[in-house]
């Protein structure tokens, strides 16, 4: 059983608000990732991190930002939410070249 947690599970928020999606893992994994998934669609990588103080943009452009101050924590922030940000956001972690594990996801709705 993977120990990776995302909060909140569901979030409905108004346009223009700042939001932070939390992701934490207790497995000591150095690699962490954020994926975005629209309903019925494939997952797209938006951010990843190789370790503390390392962050990179993924294949899909995103207005969100991330930080990695601690190994176990990889939060994602939207400074000003818009309806186009409505989606599911999935966090994952892995060791180098090994199996990745996903959190339960956050379903974000911006109204």
């Amino acid at each position: 059983e993977a120990d990776i947690y995302q909060t909140p599970r569901y979030l409905v928020i108004g346009t223009g608000k700042k939001i932070t999606l939390e992701c934490s893992q207790t497995m000591g994994h150095d690699k962490m990732y954020w994926y975005q998934q629209d309903p019925g669609m494939e997952l797209h990588l938006i951010h990843y991190s190789y370790g503390v103080n390392s962050t990179e943009k993924g294949d899909l452009s995103s207005e969100s930002t991330v930080s990695r101050i601690r190994t176990e924590h990889f939060p994602l922030t939207l400074e000003s939410a818009r309806p186009s940000h409505t989606s599911q956001y999935l966090c994952a972690s892995s060791l180098v070249g090994y199996e990745a594990f996903f959190g339960q996801g956050t379903r974000l709705t911006v109204v």
Partner: protein, 109 residues
Amino acid sequence: GIQVEQSPPDLILQEGANSTLRCNFSDSVNNLQWFHQNPWGQLINLFYIPSGTKQNGRLSATTVATERYSLLYISSSQTTDSGVYFCAVGRSNDYKLSFGAGTTVTVRA
């Protein structure tokens, strides 16, 4: 990035039937995983299988890395097998997983 193609896109099964899902990828990989996405959106790990064959209960998977494909077998399907099955691949030099579009499986009682 690596291109990942899954087939078929949709699969409707009668309970008890067997099925095969396929994943083709465009380049050599060091990581290949199969996931099942449940109705609540969570991705459940099924197999980590960059090569070879593995079995877990009614599910099994085979990856032929030299020919760039992987197969997921579901035997004696049950309604709880319904959902979307994703294949994801990666290389050790960039650590990122690239996902296919998924196969949506519907098992009818």
